[in-house]
C-alpha cells in the first residue's frame, strides 16, 4: 500500500509499505478515507529529533472504514465508518477509568527502555509517533491498524461528512480539552494563543460552554480573519501590540479568567526534548513556550492557564513567581479524546462545530511532501492539509 513516510532529516516521501495486520485480538484495520496534518507532527521533523525511524509512517488524525476486526472487538463491524482518537488508550487502567485517557498506562510501549526516557512515565500511545508512543504506524496511508478498537474508534453519524468528522479525531477534542481544563463557564473571558485548528476549536469550545468573550491571539492575518469571520471572536495580532497590556485593557484591568496556549511548536523553535539536548544547547523557544509565559503574565489572579502545545520540551525562564503570587492554576494534558468524541460528533451533526472549514488544503497522498511544506510554512493561508489516501493524484 502507499504511505507517507519519513525518510530522514525533514524529508518525506510516499513509499510502498506492507499493509498492516491484526497484531492483537482487540485490533481493527481501518481503510483510511481522510488523514490530517497536525502541529504535533512538526517537532518530529525538526533537526536533531531522533524519535522517528527511517520509513516510519506519519499521521494520527484520521477516519475511515473498518475492513477487519480482531476476535475480541465487540463494538465495530466490517463496513462501519469510524473516526479514531489519535491517542491509543486501553480504557481499563486506573487513568482511563477516570477519563484521563492520554495518561493511559497501557497504550504506549511496554519496553521500559523505550517508554520511560522521554518523561519518566509511559503514557497513552499515538499513531505515527516514535516507538515510545507505542510504535503504531501512522494514518497517512491507505490502511492503518487500530489497537483497542472498541475504546478508540467511534461510529460517525450519517449527518457528519468525512471532511468534518476527521477533526473529531484530534483537533476538536484537543480544543475542547483546553476549555475543559480551564473550567470555562458562563460569563468567562477567555484568551487563546494560537489561531490554528486547535486554537480556533478551543475558542469555539469556550463559546459553546458559555464564555462571554473570547479573544484569539496569533501573528498570521489569515488565521485571525478566519477566527473573526467563522467563529465571531475578537482577535489580537501578536506582532503589532503588547498582548498582556491589551488584554488587561479589554478586561477591566483584571486579565482573562482563562488563558489557553494552543500555539504549538510550529514557529520554528526547537525546545530541548531531553536532558542531552538540553545540555548541548541550541534550542530556541517555540511559540508554545513563549505563549505560556505570556499567558501566565496576562491571566487574572486566581485564573487558570491551560497548556495544549504540541511537543513542548524543557522550558526555562518560566515565571513561576507569577504563578505563586497570582494564585494561578496551570494545567496541561494531551487530549483525552475518548471522553469527548461522542459528544463532539453530536455537536458536529447539529452543525454547531463546522470543522471542515479548517481544511484549507485537500490533497491526495502523493502530494504529502508538498502538503507538509505548506503546513510547516503556513503558506497559502494553510491551516490544515487533509489527505485522501484512497484517491490517486492526477
Amino acid at each position: 500500500m502507499r504511505a507517507l513516510c519519513w525518510v530522514g532529516g525533514d524529508g518525506l516521501a510516499v513509499r510502498e509499505v506492507p499493509e498492516p495486520r491484526l497484531r492483537n485480538t482487540q485490533d481493527a484495520i481501518v481503510r483510511v478515507s481522510r488523514s490530517a496534518t497536525c502541529g504535533a507532527d512538526l517537532p518530529l521533523l525538526s533537526p536533531g529529533d531522533a524519535g522517528l525511524g527511517v520509513g516510519d509512517v506519519l499521521g494520527h488524525e484520521f477516519l475511515g472504514e473498518v475492513v477487519e476486526v480482531g476476535p475480541e472487538v465487540r463494538r465495530h463491524r466490517v463496513g462501519d465508518r469510524v473516526v479514531v482518537c489519535s491517542v491509543v488508550s486501553c480504557g481499563r487502567c486506573w487513568y482511563c477509568r477516570r477519563g484521563l485517557y492520554s495518561c493511559c498506562d497501557n497504550g504506549g510501549s511496554t519496553e521500559p527502555m523505550v517508554a520511560e526516557p522521554p518523561w519518566g512515565e509511559p503514557a497513552g500511545g499515538c499513531y505515527g509517533h516514535p516507538r515510545s508512543a507505542g510504535g503504531f504506524a501512522g494514518s497517512h496511508a491507505e490502511y492503518v491498524r487500530v489497537p483497542y478498537a472498541d475504546v478508540g474508534a467511534f461510529p460517525v453519524p450519517d449527518a457528519v461528512s468525512d471532511d468534518r468528522a476527521v477533526f473529531a479525531s484530534d483537533a476538536a477534542p484537543t480544543g475542547w480539552l483546553g476549555a475543559d481544563l480551564g473550567g470555562v463557564g458562563p460569563g468567562d473571558v477567555v484568551a487563546v494563543w494560537g489561531a490554528g485548528a486547535v486554537g480556533q476549536l478551543t475558542a469555539l469550545a469556550a463559546l459553546l460552554r458559555g464564555a462571554e468573550r473570547v479573544i484569539v491571539v496569533d501573528r498570521h492575518d489569515e488565521r485571525l480573519r478566519m477566527a473573526e469571520r467563522d467563529i465571531g471572536v475578537e482577535t489580537l495580532h501578536y506582532g503589532r501590540t503588547d498582548i498582556p497590556a491589551e488584554l488587561r485593557e479589554r478586561t477591566g484591568g483584571r486579565g482573562p479568567d482563562v488563558c489557553v496556549e494552543a500555539a504549538g511548536a510550529g514557529d520554528g523553535g526547537t525546545e530541548a526534548r531531553g536532558f542531552g539536548q538540553r545540555l548541548l544547547g541550541g534550542a530556541r523557544p517555540t511559540g508554545s513556550s513563549l505563549a505560556v509565559r505570556e499567558a501566565v503574565h496576562a491571566c487574572r489572579k486566581g485564573g487558570t492557564v491551560a497548556v495544549l502545545g504540541a511537543g513542548p520540551g524543557f522550558v526555562d525562564a518560566f515565571p513561576l513567581g507569577a504563578v505563586l503570587h497570582k494564585g494561578l492554576t496551570v494545567r496541561g494534558a494531551r487530549q483525552h479524546g475518548q471522553r469527548y468524541i461522542p459528544m463532539l460528533l453530536k455537536l458536529m451533526a447539529r452543525d454547531e462545530i463546522r470543522a471542515e472549514r479548517l481544511a484549507t488544503h485537500r490533497l491526495p497522498l502523493e502530494e504529502g511532501p508538498r502538503g507538509y511544506a505548506l503546513f510547516r510554512e503556513r503558506a497559502d493561508g494553510c491551516v490544515r492539509v487533509v489527505f485522501s489516501p484512497q484517491e490517486r493524484a492526477g
Binding site: V17, G53, G55, C90, W94, P112, R131, G135, Y148
Partner: protein, 153 residues
C-alpha cells in the same frame, strides 16, 4: 515511603523450593530495610494493577511472564490505597541465579529493566487481557532496509 509503611500484611515470596511461583496476598506492602545501592540495585520495581489481587495472581501463583523469572526475583503483593487495585512489586534476589542468556546480555548493566518489563506485561495482561504489540516497523521487516523502500512512481 508512606505508601509502604502502612500497617498491613506484607507478603514476600521468593520463588524457590516448595514455594516456587506461589504468592500470598496481603493488604499492604511494607518497605524493606534492605539497602539500595547507588545504581538502584536491590530496589523494588513496582506497578499498580487496576484489578483485585485475586485476579492479578490467580490462585496465588505468579502470573506470566513473571513466572519465567522464577528463582531470580522476589515478589511482594499488596492492596493499593484508594481502591486502585493491587501493588505488585518485584526485585532481583541478591543470591539469585544470573538472568538467562540473551536477557542478561542485553540488560546486563541494568537487569532491573527486565523486571520492569515483566511487571508491565503482567499489568497489561491483568487489565486488558493481552500484551499490546507494536506495528512491524521498517527495522523489523526482513530485507526491507528501512529507508530503501520502493518509491511510489
Amino acid at each position: 515511603m508512606g505508601r509502604n509503611t502502612r500497617t498491613g500484611i506484607m507478603i514476600v515470596v521468593a520463588a524457590s523450593g516448595v514455594a516456587a511461583g506461589r504468592a500470598l496476598v496481603g493488604a499492604g506492602r511494607r518497605h524493606s530495610r534492605r539497602s539500595v545501592t547507588a545504581t538502584g540495585a536491590g530496589r523494588w520495581q513496582v506497578v499498580t494493577v487496576n484489578r483485585p489481587p485475586a485476579e492479578v495472581l490467580p490462585g496465588g501463583l505468579w502470573p506470566e511472564p513473571l513466572r519465567r523469572l522464577d528463582g531470580a526475583v522476589e515478589v511482594q503483593v499488596g492492596t493499593a490505597p484508594g481502591a486502585r487495585g493491587t501493588e505488585l512489586a518485584a526485585r532481583l534476589r541478591a543470591d539469585g541465579p544470573p538472568l538467562p542468556g540473551l536477557a542478561a546480555h542485553l540488560l546486563g548493566d541494568d537487569p532491573a529493566l527486565l523486571v520492569r518489563r515483566a511487571l508491565r506485561q503482567v499489568k497489561q495482561l491483568a487489565e486488558t487481557g493481552e500484551v499490546l504489540r507494536a506495528d512491524v516497523g521498517p527495522p523489523d521487516r526482513p530485507g526491507d532496509g528501512g529507508g530503501f523502500l520502493p518509491e511510489v512512481p
